[in-house]
Symmetry: D2
Subunit: 143 residues, 4 copies
């Protein structure tokens, strides 16, 4: 298993709404930022996967909101790649504020498709990508 470093940045003004806090939809976008960062960390940046004809659309996403963040707060996301089945991948997210309070938790699931949005034999066609995801995941077939 690969140790994944947390992803961190500050909240932008345009991410807040008139409640004065970050609009809840933006956490879903931040999960994507954390996932992209994860893929760079395992040496498989998503732009490179796209070039090779692999896309990884979202099958489901969820978020639970405990504590709001607002403008200029700094947040940190700890991502866990819980499972990789060879076709599907499952992620969990924990969003912390600067004091280390757990603010938002979330989950997402994804499938690996080719650029025609069709499933394909991932392990056979892209063994190097398969291997990296398998190594990064806590559960699932190992490479």
């Amino acid at each position: 298993m690969i140790e994944i470093k947390p992803y961190s940045r500050g909240v932008y003004y345009y991410e807040t709404d008139r409640m004065g806090i970050v609009h809840h939809s933006n956490y879903i976008r931040w999960f994507e930022e954390a996932r992209d960062d994860f893929m760079r960390q395992i040496g498989m940046p998503y732009s490179k996967l796209e070039e090779r004809g692999i896309i990884i659309p979202v099958l489901s996403v969820s978020a639970q909101y405990r504590k709001h963040l607002t403008y200029e707060d700094k947040f940190t996301i700890q991502l866990h790649c819980r499972k990789f089945t060879g076709i599907k991948s499952f992620f969990e997210y924990e969003v912390f504020d600067e004091e280390g309070n757990l603010c938002v938790t979330g989950e997402s699931s994804h499938c690996m498709l080719n650029s025609e949005l069709k499933p394909f034999r991932f392990k056979k066609e892209f063994p190097d990508v398969y291997e990296r995801f398998a190594e990064a995941a806590e559960e699932g077939p190992k490479a």
Copy 2:
């Protein structure tokens, strides 16, 4: 129970991403649009609730993606107010394309707070609002 009419509009160009389809985070925003429409339908537009010091932040949200929508597709959201406890409300969403295919499903839960983001005695302080939510919900204490 109040019959809730579906909410409908077309997809904007800026709601798509480079996968060519609607970015998954936008469905979470559309759920909010459908919720706002629901509150207008029950005679309690959210802007009026805000004026009276009521805010309804999101506690949790989730979405399951089955079929993608893209630019200029017209979509329809059928919202169900599943439950209202007096403090919390629970919604379900079904997003259909123009052919009636179920594209995305979702859920959200919310709590009623005052403008200091604190809970309050909703039934006592705002009996008219309480009553409308109770009538609109499929489950929960009736007015």
Copy 3:
């Protein structure tokens, strides 16, 4: 010249920011919505142009803010197609609130490109599209 009907809708909650008003970047997106509506009105929906290999990227955009709009305000955009040169098009926008106050004005310019982002002989290759844009524009070569 074709009479262009104004484009209208209400402000969504997620379009506001913690200043309590619509974030200024959203007007740029609304201009795009009005442009899309214009293209549908002249019988040339942008999705159809894309299918035929025509894209119309933005060369420049500007906005002047006079009066803010906020959540649940209804706005109307009057678009003017000021000029069409055969390669470039120039639009002006006026955003009004429900009382008819002019809230925001704007301009944008665009070029017609093929899907490889290269210019092409628009009049020759797509005479029907050329003609409609020429008819809709206040200035420029007529069809």
Copy 4:
């Protein structure tokens, strides 16, 4: 005059559209990010100004697009505070890609208001803020 360090980050996936490139409205948001960074650099983070009752809404904004950026591109924004009159401030922006190509240029103007969105005697009421803006601006009354 204060030397302003450029602002830099990578493009997020959700900032692209189905043309495959960054949606033009996002550059307007990036200008705001660069402005926020500028205010932090001069020791006047916007969140602190808000706390003291100062807001700085946008009066006008514009952008000229020369070269597109896309997913995972790294960009750098060089901001110039062109002028500060005591009530209004004027900024210019240059967005560069990693190879140093100038991709987008832009301008914005702003006014200083109190939290009731009214003008006030900025120099008298907030001399420290006035001074920092005056020092940072290339033109205008000096502190």
